[in-house]
Amino acid sequence: MPQLRDSGTRTLHATEPVPSAEMDGFCRIFGVETEYGVAVTGVEKPVDAGQVAMTMFQPIVSRSRSTNTYLTNGSRLYLDVGSHPEYATAEARAPHEALAQDLAGERVMRGLALKAQTRLRETYGEHATVHVFKNNVDSAGHAFGCHENYLVRRFVPLEAVEHQLLPFLITRQLYTGAGRITPDGFQITQRADFLDEAISSATTRSRPMVNTRDEPHADPDAFRRLHVIIGDSNRSQWATWMKLVVTHLVLCVIEEAFRRGKPSGFEDWAFIDPASANRAVSRFLDAPDAALTLASGETVSALALQRRYFHAVALFVADHREAMDAAFAVSTSMMKHATDVATDSPTAVILGEWDRVLQALEAHDYEALADRVDWAAKRRVFEALRRRRPDVTAIQLEQLELDYHDVANGHLYDSLVSRGQLHQLMTRDEVERAVHEAPQDTRAALRGRFVEAALASGAQFSADWTHLTVTAPERREAILLDPFSAEATAEFEHLMAILGR
């Protein structure tokens, strides 16, 4: 059952950390790690997913001598256990920047898949088709993840995450769930039936909803990195953005409460049984008003609990909007779109979207959500298909549901977008830029410059989130402990000089 322990890597960073300038306000570092599933159809002889994934990573291996690398946009691309291609976005201060990075990951995966497909056709026939699924469950019931990372001020204890944030994360799936056809019927989430523990330090052994493995990739005395596992992979751009921004707002309330030593208002909202509450939320369409029991003994529906969070956050924002907007506004890339920043409030926009989506759910108007909520978009198409072809089989619907998640050769998602049926937050050009360019206001900017210089000079290099290393001809390292800082250090400049920059 729930484990609460700091499995520390604190001694790892032996160098004296420089206190981040960002401790006081509402700034945050956002990241999204997405595992993709791989399959191939139309082959003349059998080929397993592992081989397809290895073929996809052939160009990476010949470039980096490894299936684990960092790209010029600062993100990490690697082949995870179980032959899952995985992409972890570079550190972003602005949620829409994290979204752009995540979409860049889709594009990178698509490029690798189509190249692999060309190669595989030489051996497996001209109809071999590679599928790369941005989803969370395969046909045999193996689950895999889309993990969100939030840098959280360390004075927030793990108990608060479990008791105050988890009920929000469970019920937020009403509008961030990707939906899935299951033996139990259509559920609004992909993963609810695969998560059993509330909080744990492991992810592969057990299936927690929030992981506490303590790898902040930042000053460990100032921050922890909250690793949220409960979320689905989203195709809807709005859904990816929404899960980041609303979770951020709730975290702001919790952080400020501990900073001031005052209650957040979320203290009594923990579920008595988070895993069963999670499964009930996933079956929302069967029983929208299902009563969930809180540890206090009170019962409440998932939607009513979301509404409580909304009201509490709205009250908080009324007092802190300027500071909260400022945390977003430091992002230069967000500023460059602004014609008049003074009249603009990103926080108010988020609250507006949140309110409207809850209103639609309260009115049982799921059609109104179909242009932004993944499960509602799928459900709308499935129902239309059933009307047109009453003989459509369960397996055909399952195929269509997988097709929606296929970033390499899928049709349904692209059709919805090209016909204006899914809200787009990013232009193609913005996504294309994010494939090559790192966010300019975080440590990722330095990593991006380093990778680009290393590749151009042909030097051997390695990297992780806090280290940049040239391994040959001369070993030299730069440590970047503050994820908020894009400022080049002397160490970094020396590294770049070795690379001829």
Partner: protein
Amino acid sequence: MPQQFEQPQSQTQETHEDDVLAQSAPQSADQSQDQSDVLDDILNDIESTLETNAEEYVNSFVQKGGE
């Protein structure tokens, strides 16, 4: 949400929020087109997907698990 910043920012906050939502309405589709017509077009787009072997397609996707 980048689009929100491409708009003139002279409105009050409330109409600004309305604008954001207005932008979320279908843009590239013919506005006068009935929603059911759009759904018909989408079903036509995916017709070829449904003609492939659904059984093979679904069962081909087996991973070893991750995370």
